[in-house]
Point group: C2
Chain length 554, copies 2
Amino acid sequence: MSYPLFERHQALLDQALRAIAERGYWSAFPESPSPKVYGEGAAEAGKAAFEGLQNKPFPLTLPGAEGSIGAERSPYGFPLGITYPKVGLDALFAAIAKAEPAWRKAGPEAWVGVSLEILARINKRSFEIAHAVMHTTGQAFVMAFQAAGPHAQDRGLEAVTYAWEEMRRVPAKAYWEKPQGKNEPLKMEKHYRIVPRGVALVIGCNTFPTWNGYPGMFASLATGNAVVVKPHPNAILPLAISVQIAREVLAEAGFDPNIVTLVAHAAGDDTAQKLALRPEVRLIDFTGSSANGEWLEQNARQAQVYTEKAGVNQIVVDSADDIKSVARNVAFSLALYTGQMCTAPQNIYVPRGGIDTAAGHLSFDQVAQALTESVQKLLGDPARAVEILGAVVNDGVAQRIDAARALGPVLLDSQAVVHPQFKDARVRTPLIVKLDAKDDAKYLKEWFGPIAFVIATDGTGESLEIARRAAVEHGALTLSLYSTSPAVIDEAVAAAEDAGVALSINLTGGVFVNQSAAFSDYHGTGANPAANAALTDAAFVASRFRVVQHRMHV
Amino acid sequence: MSYPLFERHQALLDQALRAIAERGYWSAFPESPSPKVYGEGAAEAGKAAFEGLQNKPFPLTLPGAEGSIGAERSPYGFPLGITYPKVGLDALFAAIAKAEPAWRKAGPEAWVGVSLEILARINKRSFEIAHAVMHTTGQAFVMAFQAAGPHAQDRGLEAVTYAWEEMRRVPAKAYWEKPQGKNEPLKMEKHYRIVPRGVALVIGCNTFPTWNGYPGMFASLATGNAVVVKPHPNAILPLAISVQIAREVLAEAGFDPNIVTLVAHAAGDDTAQKLALRPEVRLIDFTGSSANGEWLEQNARQAQVYTEKAGVNQIVVDSADDIKSVARNVAFSLALYTGQMCTAPQNIYVPRGGIDTAAGHLSFDQVAQALTESVQKLLGDPARAVEILGAVVNDGVAQRIDAARALGPVLLDSQAVVHPQFKDARVRTPLIVKLDAKDDAKYLKEWFGPIAFVIATDGTGESLEIARRAAVEHGALTLSLYSTSPAVIDEAVAAAEDAGVALSINLTGGVFVNQSAAFSDYHGTGANPAANAALTDAAFVASRFRVVQHRMHV
């Protein structure tokens, strides 16, 4: 007998299983916000739903609630005015403990079926979530729709699929018959039960609450764990909506909704640390700063900890067919969401002697100029610029731009852009500073935000060696190479594999280094300090459950 | 093009892949020491090879060797007189670093092919290794042959098989084509390279150097890591032979043999800690005391740490068809290798009001008596007894027996047995002490050695609750139940799954609770303090490698 919600989504799961086996292009949730896909009126209804949430308590009843909390402010310049239940941790964990036994016993098909139903319902609320993400992260609307909606849902589905793939390979039972020479064989029946680890904690980040939050949340839920979601204090709403949906589905399926809970808290308090050290917490998924991620890795010893932290993403420019298409592609990567993606490039290495192109040799300055001109062209029209840039997520980014101006000759200054629609939005264009390879104290750390360095090196050999070492020592999620030389490409592949960083080669069209597609691109590798895990591989899911057997003679 | 050693063993690997999918009975390496299986003269040749190793330096050339070390003493009463190279760690790790690049690049088929060839050659030296294990651990010969030979080799093969199963599911490359509405689709080719984590450290134990050592050693080697083997100071030889074979195979296959190295050291020094904290070490497999295992988990933060530690194994006696067959089975489990197996039972819970059997009600004392009589009968003949008991592995065990005598009424005293062949062997029969459920301060810890407690409880409900809580709080690898009641069996299954401990039900024949068969029984669960990992599941192998991708347009 199969579980009803599992049956409902089995065809989708089968497609997803093929997708993770092949890792070609596949997507379950359409990225187009078109009414043809999501229905007439869906966009308007989603916007209205978001507006209806503002300036009131968020409709979520949680155990251990004692008062309320919430001070989210849109990067587009207004407070959301939404409050959330403030929960006492002891009461919360007591309620979770009550909810766990039935969920533990329900088994993989129930866990996966419920997870898939939650994702399907989250997808239906993509417009509402898009507005929630736009006004907590600063992402422009279309990006918020795609990255925080269908792309994030795909990442969640990918995690469920890997979890199912690992769980289904453990047989429910086995018949064991051992020959005993001339005597009767020994005969046993063995039963293997998949059991969850315990409570899973998901620590969300400000910039990608759903894209970075769903993989851990769904990997843990699909393996039978209870999940406590702790959003960033300025990006609570997108995860609150997700938790609300999860609780609805759990309740409808006959489970205690406290299997998925939300802990909203005020900025600067120690809620994350307190949660992370609870003995009940056996799994933690974290996205955020290296300092906080390393603290978790060092201190939350009772838990398996999956972290995505800071890094230094880099571009090595060796040679090119057409510098304009290189510059266009790189400019978009620098500008997209104001360089606030964890995958956005920061350091661009160019030989000080220049590079060869199909149109002849270009000096270092010509390469740099092509890049700055491309950024200017891309962002010349404010109305179009704000749809690429979105808004600055917090004051730290604006301050960092100011600090980075002093690092070296400014090739392109960062400018404020007036948003046609939101006059108080903080919108900034990229800052590009020229540095020399020897300035490594300046560029070998993450300058989070729209800050890029064009760095003069002795040649591509030095560029690759700096890039390799930077990834090994400081971490990196992406590396990009432009080269027409097969030998250089081979060298870059070797350096990337050595440093454990994903490499994109000669991106000049509609794919950008900061984009990572679910079911095909591994996001992070776990092989350098930027992350200790990857989205998504077997290692990301296999330790979230255990197998307990019993055996008897037959 | 396939890798030659991979091709050579591919048929075996295919069988092993089927075995891990089904987890029924399967074994690659025959457990019978018969000349029909291992060849005429194999037993004699193995014994001679072992004798030829004694009282001289072990033939192993290692980088960074500076002097020699080694003071192994047979539990059967004589020094082995074998010395091993003492290696300087800096020089050793420098040599490993030189060896790594070619091995890293060789890829999964080479790693798996080399691993399988090593196992095949280890199997050919099973007799030699059996003597080495007998005279370092104290296991009796036949057990040493089976458990440290074919059974350990099966566990090694199981780890290689799981590693291959996880690696083969990562496609080498993918074609990605994303539709763009009316425009040309985006087309990319993506390559996924499996890269190892770094250097793997295997910390061996005194009692089962190969059975507990091979899984980590082969899981790490088969995923492309270099492996440093650090044996227990009194059980170096079995792993030294294994390392010697691994180095031979590596060299013949054209790799630098320093991919597998041995660090022998003197008892009581800090070599293990120094190795565990080396930044190069990214994987650690440990079997041993809870104190040392927990130290590693707490301190070796740069590494993924897999531990098997101490626990309290338990038997719950509720009811039985035939008390004699129950007692016979339990007696053997208590006596086998002097209770020095990590899976050996210690606490036997019996209702103080006695139990029902097919032959009528038996009082607590009658149940205890059946057990003590079975032990006496099993071990009545010294010549037979020593083949079951083997020898006491170290002085601590003998001292612990003395301490345990004082805990309560002695139901059966431990006795010294004179070994017909080795007059200085320390051979001891089991001690059985009667305790009450309230004496939990006495029995809720591991009394490593031939020490068992028959504990009077208020009934099976209390027995199961004590057993459950003991496993949760103190760890357990095995739990055993005797009951004729389906309801009690269900309760025990639920308690075992809650406590994350493998349960054996009504073992009265030729299977014993301390036995765990590769390819079928999971050894440990990772779900209670006795172990943070299981032999072998996906979680045991999936984090030993990473995937690094590169992508470009096509």
